[in-house]
């Protein structure tokens, strides 16, 4: 568990421990194409079965510990998304699923979107992929809960003499 990665979130490690054993997820589609949404449901089904980790999909944001956000956040969904965000009690994790949510994806500069979840609310975990495989989703959620290590790191290269 590398704490320095958590710099941009409001949740401390202690907060995360509180929800780590029983993370209830609320799924918010902010204008995604359905691909990621279906993979979220797929993780609940027999082959991947995230209920092993106590993950349960709930129907009200008031019960949620994790908000799984898909989609580039369209202008029409900003209001309802913020309502859902505010309704979820602390501590909560915001997980951006798929590259639409991470960075706006192919719609990043469209007039009708806000270009990703990060532009609307603070985001804790980014799960890129189009759509992310169910395994990648599980990995991302467990990463947010501090149960696995991050496998990717920023890479920078410079030509000599620059």
């Amino acid at each position: 568990m590398n704490d320095e990665h958590r710099a941009n979130t409001s949740n401390s490690l202690d907060d995360i421990r509180k929800i780590a054993k029983s993370p209830w997820v609320f799924h918010v589609n902010t204008g995604g194409c359905n691909g990621c949404d279906i993979e979220i449901v797929d993780t609940l089904t027999p082959y991947f079965d995230v209920e092993r980790f106590g993950i349960k999909r709930v129907s009200s944001p008031k019960h949620a510990d994790i908000l799984l956000v898909t989609g580039p956040v369209t202008r029409q969904s900003v209001g309802t998304f913020l309502n859902a965000y505010e309704a979820a009690p602390d501590p909560k994790l915001v997980v951006a699923i798929g590259n639409c949510a991470c960075g706006g994806g192919i719609w990043h500069d469209s007039f009708a979107t806000m270009g990703g979840v990060g532009n609307v609310v603070p985001t804790d975990v980014y799960i890129p992929g189009c759509p992310p495989k169910p395994e990648a989703l599980i990995h991302g959620i467990l990463l947010g809960l501090g149960k696995v290590e991050q496998k990717i790191a920023r890479k920078t290269f410079k030509e000599e003499g620059l």
């Binding site: 082959y47 991947f48 975990v125 990648a136 990995h139 496998k151 790191a153 920023r154 890479k155």
Partner: protein, 178 residues
């Protein structure tokens, strides 16, 4: 009732199918399109992938003698177009999919290249590596035309257009599109 028993039978007979991920690895089919990666040792910074990328996950920025190519996984749709257009096979799509990150910055790969100045007007126009690549790939072809001809490779497109010979234009286009 018969159907209930049938369903019960499926439940019992099919057994537990769950993969114990992340403890066990799940089967990954060959040729999965996962994370693309730029190989800095090979990449010449020509920007072909940047042009081809549908979601603009690859962006290019020239600034004061440095060309920065940034690959942002958070925008990449894993289509593999970049791999197809790369002239030197520097970008490859790997079968890697666990890309989750706690940080936006960790999803970036940044490559910086030195740019070269045009011998005529003095503006930066392409990377050193693109020139080297053009020279080495087509040295044989160009060698017959003498020193004066090779000099013209070091001109920016604008200057080249002014005094450019048809033949060299063909060579350059060949290098760009191969």
């Amino acid at each position: 009732m018969k159907n209930i028993l049938r369903l019960l039978k499926i439940g019992i007979a099919r057994g537990r199918v769950t993969y114990r991920y992340p403890k066990d690895r799940t089967p990954v089919p060959e040729g999965l399109r996962g994370r693309p990666e730029l190989n800095f040792d090979v990449c010449i910074g020509c920007g072909a992938c940047v042009k081809a990328c549908p979601p603009n996950a690859l962006v290019m920025d020239d600034h004061e003698g440095t060309r920065t190519i940034k690959l942002f996984y958070g925008q990449c749709i894993m289509c593999g177009t970049c791999e197809e257009v790369c002239p030197v096979d520097a970008i490859r799509v790997f079968e890697e999919f666990e890309l989750a990150s706690l940080n936006r910055e960790d999803l970036e790969e940044v490559l910086q290249f030195a740019l070269v100045k045009c011998k005529s007007c003095g503006n930066y126009f392409t990377t050193k590596r693109v020139l080297e690549n053009t020279l080495s790939a087509y040295s044989e072809l160009v060698s017959g035309y003498g020193e004066e001809f090779i000099e013209k490779i070091f001109l920016c497109p604008d200057c080249r257009r002014k005094d450019w010979s048809e033949v060299l234009a063909e060579v350059y286009r060949g290098a760009r599109h191969e």
